[in-house]
């Protein structure tokens, strides 16, 4: 059974209540169509379970398969430096159908980032390291494709829809 390594920590992007009893970690790729499909389902899960759920996103860009996966991950991490990680994360998935390398600046403007700062941050080593650390944590946690989900630290064998179903059953 694969477990999450390292555990959720201060470097992670976290949504939801600190007191939530269920922590879901997604390893995702912004260009992966299956991750795009999972995105609205995760939103539904968050709506349905509210404070019971904490959601964490870690980057797992399959760069060789998806040439924009890495720049997208960089864009989201650069937005995080202006406290807008989730705004960028959501904007990229919502615009996944028209992903290009021009899109990130447009989205940065749309979500109200200081775009000059955003572009500078996108080139920083710190940001690259964050994306690589996430990827390595995925490898060590046994990620075998995207999206991969971990529930309370244990790898969940299924996609977002299966996850929703499992949560429904377990909270009934």
């Amino acid at each position: 059974m694969s477990t999450l390594k390292p555990e959720v920590n201060s470097k992670d992007h976290v949504q939801g209540s600190d007191s939530a009893s269920i922590t879901i970690v997604e390893f995702g790729d912004y260009q992966c169509p299956y991750c795009g499909d999972a995105y609205p389902i995760i939103k539904e899960i968050q709506d349905a379970f509210g404070n019971q759920i904490k959601f964490v996103f870690r980057n797992f860009p399959l760069q060789k398969s998806h040439e924009l996966a890495y720049p997208a991950a960089i864009a989201a991490e650069a937005a995080a430096l202006q406290d807008k990680f989730w705004e960028m994360h959501d904007a990229i998935y919502e615009n996944q159908y028209r992903l290009t390398d021009q899109l990130f600046n447009e989205l940065a403007e749309k979500i109200g980032l200081n775009t000059e700062q955003f572009q500078e941050d996108s080139l920083s080593d710190e940001i690259k390291q964050k994306v690589e650390d996430d990827f390595e944590s995925g490898v060590r946690s046994g990620v075998n494709g995207t999206p991969s989900f971990y529930v309370n630290g244990t790898k969940f064998d299924g996609g977002a829809t299966d996850l929703y179903q499992m949560l429904k059953e377990s909270t009934e």
Partner: protein
């Protein structure tokens, strides 16, 4: 399936129509063999695509990875090109599955290799092996742990 401690059987398989890979030429290097059932499985959960992303980790541990399936060299070439794979896929094609059989990971019923991983050390000895359920991509955590254990020796 061959287990830890056994000498890895030598083989000679085509990576391209005119290039053969001999295992014994890789003595002095760690080798990862990833047997898998077939080319062309779905993209984002594809095992070979994952290993493709991990080449720099493998290089760090002085390890060369080979994918092995019963597909022909031409099929492998098309698959490598489509998925932009940067490591060799070997064709266990004729006699069909002979190497998979030698490693004990051939599925006679399906006529395909099982999904199995071997890490072979610099002396040509198997130091770790793992058989995965065919439908499950085993990821790479086990490979990395095995390589790290070798580094500590």
């Amino acid at each position: 399936m061959l287990e830890k401690g056994v000498k890895a059987p030598n083989f000679e398989l085509n990576a391209t129509p005119d290039q053969k890979i001999k295992l014994k030429d890789f003595l002095g290097k760690n080798v990862i063999l990833a047997f898998y059932p077939a080319d062309w499985s779905p993209v984002c959960s594809d095992q070979m695509a994952l290993y493709n992303e991990m080449l720099k980790y493998f290089t760090k541990h002085d390890a060369q990875i080979f994918g092995v399936s019963v597909d022909s060299v031409w099929c492998h070439l098309a698959f490598e090109k489509d998925r932009k794979l940067h490591f060799p896929l070997l064709a266990d094609f004729e006699p069909k599955g002979a190497v998979s059989k030698a490693y004990g990971v051939y599925d006679e019923k399906l006529g395909e290799s099982k999904r199995a991983l071997f890490v072979i050390d610099k002396e040509g000895k198997i130091v770790w092996s793992y058989l995965s359920p065919t439908a499950v991509n085993p990821g790479a955590d086990g490979i990395l742990e095995a390589l790290e254990a070798l580094d500590k020796k």
